[in-house]
């Protein structure tokens, strides 16, 4: 049994100009101890699908799914109160902007201890000890004195460490990291990622890493799910994905990596992710795809089999002759 199993998840937002589908029929599954990376451009619905899982979307969002199970428990059937017992304890999430994700009015110690008080039933002294231990674990120097500092008195990197300490406080079984390094310096980025993967190895929790950085994916993930315009377009183990991408979008993303560039000019994907009003009729990637033909432009493709990385494409790349036939 998978730790997390989501099938056919869709999220619609009611906006002043009509409904907008931000996530479209996405499947996500994570096993115990697995590191899954979700990649895609801005606006591809990576964060929204995870926020939907956490129940953190505003009321304008309508969430539908065939299956949404965590450890075999149907999350959709739970009362808000029962769901709050899981969210924050067994499933934890860290966000993109550490500076604005911590409450400026409370000390970091209070904010870490709050999670412990809520879920762990610890007394005051134990909470204090555990908070120091957690801050030590995430590599904050002099944790005892740092407990009483406010978020604005620390750097972005330190704040992200606090966020991580807060999220792992209750020994979660699944940690969702939503672009945890985007707002940080390059040197700090590597440290934070090392910390996250290290913690993942030590505790054996599942980790979902949302990112748009292929380098981060290559170094940290075991399996990769590529999303485009709200749809999952490909899902493969990391090694296979880099070796044989099946969806033209994945191939284009990989080709755009500076490390892989062969010519002097870096290859790019022309155009932008379709928005609310310019959604194509057929394949969503067809306006930007180098291989698209009339069939792509008129008929939306359905995902291929797992031997082709579930690629949502009429003409998957790198298909061996047998599969093609």
């Amino acid at each position: 049994m998978a730790l997390l199993e989501i099938r056919n998840l869709s999220v619609d937002f009611t906006t002043a100009s009509g409904a907008f589908r931000a996530v479209d029929a996405v499947d996500v599954s994570v096993d115990k101890g697995e590191v899954l990376a979700i990649v895609g451009e801005s606006g591809s619905g990576k964060s929204v699908s995870m926020l939907a899982l956490m129940g953190l979307l505003p009321w304008t969002a309508t969430i539908t799914a065939d299956v949404m199970e965590f450890e075999g428990r149907d999350l959709r059937a739970l009362t808000p109160k029962a769901r709050r017992k899981i969210v924050g304890k067994d499933i934890a999430m860290i966000f993109q902007e550490p500076m604005s994700s911590l409450n400026p009015c409370f000390t970091v110690g209070f904010q870490i201890k709050e999670a412990l008080r809520l879920h762990m039933n610890m007394d005051r002294a134990t909470r204090h000890k555990r908070a120091i231990e957690l801050m030590d674990m995430v590599g904050i120097p002099a944790p005892e004195s740092r407990l009483n500092t406010f978020p604005h008195q620390m750097s972005g990197g330190m704040n992200q460490r606090v966020m991580i300490a807060m999220s792992i406080a209750c020994n979660p079984k699944l940690l969702i990291a939503d672009e945890p390094t985007t707002a940080l310096d390059v040197t700090i980025q590597a440290q934070i990622l090392d910390l996250l993967t290290g913690l993942q190895r030590d505790t054996g929790m599942g980790l979902i890493l949302i990112t748009h950085d292929m380098g981060v994916v290559a170094e940290n993930a075991e399996r990769v799910s590529v999303q485009y315009a709200g749809q999952k377009v490909e899902d493969q183990p990391v090694y296979d994905l880099f070796a044989r991408p099946h969806h033209p979008y994945t191939a284009a993303l990989l080709a755009a990596l500076p490390e892989r560039a062969t010519s002097k000019l870096l290859p790019t994907i022309p155009g932008v992710v379709p928005g609310q009003f310019d959604r194509p009729k057929g394949c969503l990637f067809s306006p930007r795809c180098a291989y698209a033909d009339d069939r792509c432009r008129s008929t939306p493709p359905i995902p291929c089999g797992s031997e082709l990385g579930l690629a949502r494409c009429h003409y998957p790349l790198n298909a061996t002759e047998e599969v093609k036939a």
Binding site: G55, R84, K85, V87, A92, L102, P104, F106, H152
Partner: protein, 335 residues
């Protein structure tokens, strides 16, 4: 912190001088003078008028009178009332507890109802409660105080007979004013029914005086909460699995309090201004009524001194509010 306090106190000096200047000038701009008013319909002979002018110091040039007045203030002397011949200072402190009691009750009424109402409205944005509350608040804010007071008196006191019409306590009770606060004194007196009588006299003036601050606080709380609720750290709080109370009442409200506290501080000024009208309507023996009476009597020292003391009161409240900012939001704490 102390340095900050000292620098803030220093800015009081120009404000203080400004207030003396304005109150001194304004009361003299009103037509008529104290002597004519005191003489009443009988009138006064020109010789006696001159004599009184010299006696009260009005024969001096205005700037000399002003500096005499300032000299007195620096020495802590606000002058004597022309009418009662008692020091302004004594009269003020005899009447001030009544105003303070009423203002405090109005403030508790406004904050106690306005803060939760604003929070609930923000959380239920766009729903029935929100719309109902915000339109009610707008009505409350735009309603003239005197009209609202008369309306309440007619309905609650007149038709329903639930509360007394005026005064601080029923005439059946008499006890020494130990603290000047009727609620406390009536309890201390131990007389049966005294406390409930004092309380019932307070209800209507409190509602009337507290209505405008209540509306302002509710609206301000709502808009501040709405802004805070879309912040990233609220998402973090929800991701922790906090209850709605923990999210809205602790994480969000603490951040939303800054603009609300500012409004509360400013409302104190409005409250004291509103007290003048409210006290007159309900015959509440406080400084508001005292000031109005003194203006009609052209009792210069009382008007000047009263205005000055009220201004100082407002300045102190706003300084306190500024100091509170740092406690609520550590980001703007001074060192």
């Amino acid at each position: 912190m102390l340095k900050y306090l000292a620098s803030r106190l220093l800015t009081f000096v120009p404000t203080f001088i400004g207030v003396t200047l304005i109150s001194f000038a304004f009361i003299r701009m009103l037509p008529g003078d104290p002597i004519t008013v005191m003489a009443g319909e009988r009138g006064v002979s020109p010789e006696r008028y001159q004599e009184l002018m010299v006696q009260l110091g009005f024969d001096q040039p205005v700037y000399v009178q002003y500096f005499e007045y300032l000299k007195g203030i620096v020495q802590g002397d606000l002058g004597m009332s022309f009418v009662t011949k008692k020091p302004v200072w004594d009269e003020f402190f005899a009447l001030f507890p009544a105003t303070l009691e009423l203002s405090l009750c109005a403030m508790i009424f406004a904050v106690g109802l306005g803060l939760p109402a604003g929070v609930i409205a923000a959380v239920n944005r766009g729903k029935f409660f929100d719309r109902a509350l915000m339109s009610t608040a707008l009505v409350g804010y735009s309603m003239p105080i005197f009209w609202w007071a008369l309306l309440l008196i007619i309905v609650v006191s007149g038709w329903l007979g639930l509360t007394p019409v005026s005064g601080r306590i029923s005439l059946m009770f008499y006890f020494p004013d130990t603290t000047g606060f009727m609620l406390i004194d009536s309890l201390l007196s131990g007389q049966k029914g005294a406390f409930s009588s004092a309380l019932s006299h307070l209800i209507l003036p409190t509602i009337v005086l507290g209505t405008i601050p209540l509306a302002v606080i509710a609206r301000q709380t709502r808009s501040a909460m709405l802004e805070v609720l879309s912040e990233d750290y609220i998402r973090t709080a929800r991701a922790k699995g906090l209850s709605p109370y923990g999210i809205n009442g602790i994480h969000a409200l603490r951040n939303a309090l800054i603009p609300v506290i500012t409004v509360i501080g400013l409302s104190v000024g409005t409250l004291l201004a509103g007290a003048i009208l409210t006290e007159t309507i309900f015959s509440w023996p406080g400084i508001g009524k005292w000031m109005v009476d003194s203006i009609f009597r052209r009792d210069y020292p009382v008007v000047q001194g009263g205005l000055l003391l009220i201004a100082v009161m407002v300045m102190i409240v706003n300084l306190t509010v500024d100091m509170l900012y740092g406690f609520i939001n550590p980001k703007i704490r001074k060192r």
